[in-house]
């Protein structure tokens, strides 16, 4: 047994509430799962009462429904509709503004965030996604860096994968192994649930010390282990095989791209919900007087025509070319650029695609009928 295993503790729902209180007292903005508009969304939490207690998510290609569980689990669902991406890499943000007077032009950067952020209920796939975005943005983007500066992560191991999850085949989950301060495994065999807790950082240890906890029993640790094993064996989907990059590179003219382009709406839902997609466009505007100028940035997507616009037109005028860009970037060129896959197997692009296009199924089709 590892030393981390030896240091497993248990807290109950009251202890969990105290953890949130402890974070609040330290000036953290607390963000985590809550039920909003018929889905589990990540939003501000006032306390454990805002968590999706007794709810779960039913997910399939192009389909999502909240369902009642027959217990009072706080984290008995797979993943939220949106990822935590929006808290570090927001959909829209002001970059600078300027004032033009007859003789002068004064520009001023928008201030960077100084808000401490605590994320509650972060899954293994999300932690991997945050690490991937760090790789892409941390060095390049001061606004992102400022938002990432003071973050406390309360991870929760996933024991309820959905029908579109495949983190196991992306080696991204379901067990959280890095990138957290505190990790919990919710034991639903007790009702109300209790949580097996491990800490990984000094801040995490400090938090645990401040709240009521006790040592985990052998049985509790075994139940936690088996819940994770169950999750790994109950992934709704699987990304087929290894060596995706050469497979994709061999099949750039495969007829399957035409078939998927007939279904694809070029709506960009997949890139918006993907926790790793990072593309943005920059917009410059002026007001009616022509004196107030501003530059802002918003999410863009390789599914829009403007995305690949260069002098004279779009490089990817067809939906076929755009879908191929999206999938080959995720699975083939991303590893070359950033040393990891661009996909963590969260399944959001499958669930939230209005026509239910499934990245694992598309890849399998390319592989089954591949140009040698």
């Amino acid at each position: 047994m590892s030393s981390q295993m030896n240091s497993a503790h248990v807290i109950d729902v009251t202890g969990f509430n105290h953890l949130l209180g402890w974070l609040g007292e330290r000036g953290y903005r607390i963000v985590g799962p809550t039920v909003r508009d018929g889905a589990i969304a990540y939003d501000d939490l006032a306390g454990a009462g805002d968590l999706p207690r007794g709810w779960t998510d039913e997910q399939a290609p192009g389909h999502y429904r909240l369902r009642r569980r027959n217990d009072t689990a706080l984290f008995g669902y797979a993943v939220g509709a949106h990822s935590y991406k929006r808290f570090f890499h927001p959909p829209w943000e002001a970059l600078w503004h300027a004032r033009r007077e007859p003789e002068t032009l004064q520009a001023q950067d928008e201030p960077s965030s100084t808000q401490r952020l605590a994320l509650i209920g972060v899954r293994a796939c999300e932690i991997r996604a945050i690490a991937i975005q760090d790789r892409v943005l941390l060095e390049r983007d001061p606004q992102y860096r400022a938002r990432r500066a003071e973050v406390f992560i309360v991870a929760v191991n996933c024991t309820t994968p959905s029908g579109t999850c495949f983190c196991a085949s992306m080696q991204a989950g379901p067990q959280v192994s890095t990138g957290f301060d505190v990790v919990l495994t919710e034991l639903c065999s007790a009702d109300p649930p209790v949580f097996v807790v491990r800490v990984a950082t000094a801040a995490g240890r400090e938090a645990l010390t401040a709240i009521t906890h006790r040592a985990a029993t052998e049985t509790e640790m075994a139940v936690a282990e088996s819940a994770l094993r169950y999750a790994a064996e109950h992934m709704g989907r699987q990304m087929p095989g290894a060596d995706l990059a050469p497979l994709l590179r061999r099949n750039l003219e495969h007829p399957r791209w035409n078939a998927v382009a007939e279904r694809c709406l070029a709506c960009g839902n997949c890139t918006a919900v993907c926790p790793t997609c990072f593309c943005t466009t920059v917009e410059d505007t002026s007001d009616l007087s022509g004196r107030a100028l501003s530059r802002s940035r918003r999410w863009d997507s390789c599914f829009t025509a403007e995305f690949s616009y260069v002098h004279g037109g779009s490089v990817r005028p067809s939906t076929r070319a755009r879908y191929r860009q999206w999938m080959t970037h995720k699975l083939a060129t991303w590893p070359e650029q950033f040393g990891t896959s661009g996909c963590v197997g969260c399944g959001r692009c499958i669930t939230w695609c209005p026509v239910g296009i499934d990245i694992t199924e598309e890849l399998a089709a390319l592989g089954a009928d591949s140009a040698a």
């Binding site: 969304a41 829209w92 709406l265």
Partner: protein
């Protein structure tokens, strides 16, 4: 702007429409003074009854062409205008009144008027761009006041307006709404509709009905497949695509597929 220079003259023209788009200009409320400072509003039937003749740097045109007189008048407007921008679904796609394009106009006039012979109207309602060159088409039913202000600011600065032509979904997701189609099983035209409204309908948990017209890469055939699986029949689909932008080519072709 150079204080010595005359302010550019703005004219607002109305054709077959409901006035909602012109009123969007008044909705730019906090900035009406800035507007008046930047532009000389020369003809604005909603706020002034003193039409000024002459030439205009910018004409905003609301409404579609549905009578022979209007077809003449829009040519005169174009001749007087340096820039011509159309406002809204009527001016850009023919509006709800373009439902006449799918039927025989005589049957409508006979049903509505006691003396249909006195009614001078065309058999179709067509967008302004069918008749004259248009510099920019602003979508919506009605247009979004913020987008309108952006188009005016851009024209004054001589830069392209920031008015994206991608799907409503991008805007809806950016705002953090839950998808009403995927999570609610509702008919939503968001994936085939252009952004710009602020995703108002999904914000109130109902499907988009397409008042900003088709997005740049719309694929309604595929969306209709999904909507059929959700339980819509051919009549439902026909009606879904036949509202304010019924005559926009992409929506028209799709509704006609469900009419046969």
């Amino acid at each position: 702007m150079d204080p010595g220079r005359r302010k550019p003259r703005l004219a607002v023209w109305k054709f077959a429409s409901c006035d909602g788009c012109q009123l969007s200009l008044l909705e730019c409320e906090p900035d009406l003074l800035a507007l008046a400072a930047a532009l000389d509003v020369a003809f604005f039937p909603e706020v002034s009854d003193r039409p000024i003749r002459g030439r205009y740097e910018l004409s905003l045109v609301e409404g579609s062409i549905s009578t022979p007189e209007d077809a003449e008048r829009i040519r005169a407007v174009r001749r007087r205008s340096r820039h011509l921008v159309t406002l809204g679904a009527c001016a850009t796609a023919g509006g709800i009144q373009a439902l006449r394009n799918f039927a025989a106009i005589r049957e409508f006039t006979a049903a509505v008027y006691a003396q249909p012979a006195y009614i001078g109207t065309l058999g179709t309602s067509t967008p302004i761009a069918t008749h004259v060159a248009v510099d920019f088409e602003l979508r919506g039913c009605p247009v979004n006041p913020r987008q309108l202000q952006e188009v005016l600011s851009a024209l004054l600065a001589g830069r392209p307006p920031v008015v994206p032509r991608h799907s409503l979904c991008s805007e809806c997701k950016s705002l953090g709404h839950t998808c009403v189609l995927v999570a609610g099983g509702q008919a939503c035209l968001g994936p085939v509709t252009q952004a710009g409204c602020g995703a108002i309908c999904p914000a109130y948990r109902r499907g988009c009905y397409g008042c900003f017209g088709p997005q740049q890469s719309a694929n309604p055939v595929s969306l209709s497949g999904t909507l059929t699986a959700l339980g819509l029949n051919r009549q439902d689909l026909l009606r879904l695509y036949r509202t304010f932008n019924a005559a926009a080519p992409v929506f028209r072709a799709e509704s006609e597929r469900h009419a046969q």
